[in-house]
């Protein structure tokens, strides 16, 4: 059949619009992120703004200087800059992890928390807080400020390995088994956490509560250094999963027919998700809703093609957390709101809306 015209007829162009919209979303997202980062650097309870940046840089370069310059350096370069970077990283990785989980489970409500990664990370962190003053003391002291982040990441990762072992039979990973195992592990983690609460001090318990609400107040260049390998791995490995994620949307059998090595893809998706969530939880405690809300919004605008969904989710997730962090430190300045609470305030209504609207377009097979 000959193709008469070179341009696509009207019916097809609706699709192209969405396609073009996707690329525009990426560009817009990038610009908004840069803007948000600048705002984050510029806004804070001390009243310093970007105009103080030259002074700060001068103080950093010369190594000392007038107290005002040192102050500017401390606030802008040692507090706000690493904080902005970490906020962007946390937002991007949680959003991408969410998008990948939703692609894997073929369900827009899937969340990394479901497969137990967050629970495992949280349990490890709780154990560190609880046992840090008793028998785990020497190790915790040796790791110093790193004890908690290292433990959280380790916990998330181990949980994923255990999950894969449980859910893999005869070389295949049944997704429903993974889901159920994740819920079971989450329940076990919750029980163990409760148990540990008996071992903890009142102070430690309060620390735990605060940690579970999420916070970027402890941001530092050390932490940025710690997450850099994770960020690099995610940046390099995630794009390679785009085809597999797209194929998996049709189902595992179909994905295989389309040439995707399904088992290997599933393993990589779960591992990358664990890495992303583990690292994010490690530096900022538990922050929810980013993984569900952001990919959903992206899909609403630009369709479910992962070539757009993954990068757009990363950008928009970063913007969301950076902006939420600015709110966290300004609303009750000089005190701070835990960022998890702000995310809940924004995210819960959107999540509810999703749940209510669910049906037809959004049900999983």
């Amino acid at each position: 059949m000959a193709i008469e015209s070179l341009s696509l007829p009207h019916a097809a162009s609706a699709s192209s619009d969405r396609h073009a919209l996707g690329w525009r979303l990426l560009i817009a997202g990038g610009l908004v992120l840069v803007l948000a980062a600048l705002v984050s650097l510029s806004v804070g309870p001390t009243g310093l703004t970007l105009s103080d940046l030259p002074r700060a840089l001068l103080a950093a370069y010369s190594g000392s200087g007038a107290p005002a310059d040192v102050h500017a350096r401390l606030v802008l370069l040692e507090v706000r800059l690493p904080r902005t970077i970490l906020a962007a990283f946390v937002g991007a990785s949680l959003a991408v992890a969410g998008a990948m989980m939703q692609g894997l489970f073929r369900n827009p409500l899937a969340d990394p928390g479901l497969i137990g990664v967050s629970s495992g990370a949280a349990l490890a962190a709780v154990a560190t807080i609880a046992l840090g003053s008793s028998f785990a003391g020497p190790w915790v002291r040796a790791l110093g400020i790193w004890a908690l982040p290292a433990a959280a990441f380790f916990g998330g990762f181990v949980t994923t390995i255990v999950l894969m072992l449980i859910a893999r039979r005869h070389g295949t990973t049944a997704i429903s088994t993974l889901l159920l195992a994740g819920i079971a592990l989450g329940a076990i983690a919750g029980a163990l956490t409760g148990l540990l609460a008996y071992v903890t001090d009142d102070r430690e318990l309060r620390d735990l509560t605060l940690w579970s609400m999420g916070s970027l107040a402890g941001a530092s260049w050390q932490k940025v250094l710690a997450i850099t390998p994770f960020a690099l791995v995610l940046l390099l490995m995630t794009p390679r999963l785009i085809r597999a994620l797209n194929g998996l949307l049709l189902g595992e059998a179909e994905a295989f027919y389309l040439g995707i090595e399904v088992e290997s893809a599933k393993l990589r998706i779960v591992t990358l998700t664990a890495a992303a969530v583990g690292a994010a939880v490690a530096v900022a405690g538990t922050i929810g809703f980013v993984g569900i809300v952001v990919p959903h919004l992206v899909r609403l605008i630009a369709g479910p093609d992962h070539r757009i969904v993954l990068p757009a989710s990363a950008l928009l997730g970063a913007v969301l957390v950076v902006v939420a962090d600015v709110a966290a430190r300004m609303i009750v300045a000089p005190a701070e709101l835990p960022i998890g609470i702000i995310m809940a305030v924004i995210g819960a209504p959107v999540f509810l809306h999703l749940v209510i609207r669910r049906g037809g377009a959004l049900s999983a097979p």
């Binding site: 019916a11 609706a14 699709s15 827009p108 027919y257 389309l258 040439g259 959004l362």
Partner: protein
């Protein structure tokens, strides 16, 4: 091209597919028919590589199927499954474009969207290209997936006579008009040199369109050959456990069949014999 040699697949103690020998030849349309549970879909899944046989082998060319990687297979064969669910609101065009998810494929095809659109046109769906998949009827969805499978083969870079199209009950939720559209397309693909393997439930359509028919019952091939050989009273009655009456169309001599109303006692006898032979 693709052949099955003593292919068997057992689930637990039961053999779903038992010692099948089959050859798929370029430019040939083979229709597989048989009662429910005869192993038709299982056979298809073994040929696509989705299931691993418990004994016997599937050969593509002269190589074992298991030695091919997923993307190598995807360049040689496309599959249209019976049910494909899609959880997210793609447009029809985007679903067809998913046919190019095969690793390495999109980079080679310049005007991907154009090709996808052409496929939709072939199946009468050009008006629906920009519409959300979730708003389509069952029949329309089925045809969209057919377009996707065609897109995959078209863009694979493999010459048509080295490709296979495997189709599982493509006409199940279509009205007669659309059934014919789909079957016509399968014939068109056959004429281009592709090998077409279709599981069909409608014996008459199978007889009308296929070059070869394979009658499967109890996991074994009961009859194989051109439709005229396979569409025979005794054979079909035994396989399906009911009384049928076959005949031929005046023009062209295409065989067709109709279920025959008969006394309850007769029906029971046939059903019993069938159950005994093909349990």
């Amino acid at each position: 091209m693709i052949c099955a040699r003593s292919l068997s697949f057992a689930a637990g103690k039961r053999k779903l597919v038992d010692g099948i020998d089959l050859d798929l030849v370029p430019g040939q349309f083979i229709a597989v028919v048989g009662p429910n549970g005869a192993g038709k879909s299982t056979l298809l899944r073994l040929l696509t590589g989705e299931l691993k046989p418990t004994s016997g082998q599937v050969l593509i060319g002269n190589r074992e199927l298991s030695s091919f990687s997923a993307d190598q297979l995807a360049r040689r064969r496309a599959v249209l499954a019976q049910h494909t669910a899609l959880a997210f609101p793609f447009t029809a065009l985007e679903v067809v474009l998913l046919g190019m998810t095969v690793p390495g494929l999109q980079a080679e095809v310049g005007n991907a969207r154009q090709v996808a659109f052409t496929m939709l046109e072939r199946l009468g769906l050009e008006q629906l290209a920009g519409q959300s998949y979730t708003t389509l009827s069952g029949g329309e969805r089925q045809r969209v997936h057919m377009a996707r499978a065609l897109c995959q083969l078209e863009c694979s870079g493999t010459p048509p006579d080295e490709t296979i199209l495997l189709v599982d009950e493509p006409t199940s939720s279509l009205d007669i008009g659309h059934q014919l559209i789909v079957l016509d397309e399968l014939v068109r693909q056959k004429r281009r040199g592709r090998s077409v393997f279709a599981v069909l439930h409608d014996l008459n359509l199978a007889a009308a369109y296929a070059d070869e028919m394979v009658l499967l019952a109890g996991g074994k091939i009961v009859a194989a050959g051109p439709p005229s050989e396979v569409i025979q009273d005794e054979r079909l009655s035994l396989a399906f456990g009911c009384q049928v009456c076959t005949n031929r169309l005046p023009a062209g001599g295409i065989p067709f069949l109709l279920p025959q109303a008969c006394a309850a006692a007769e029906v029971c006898a046939v059903a019993r014999k069938s159950a005994a032979t093909y349990s």
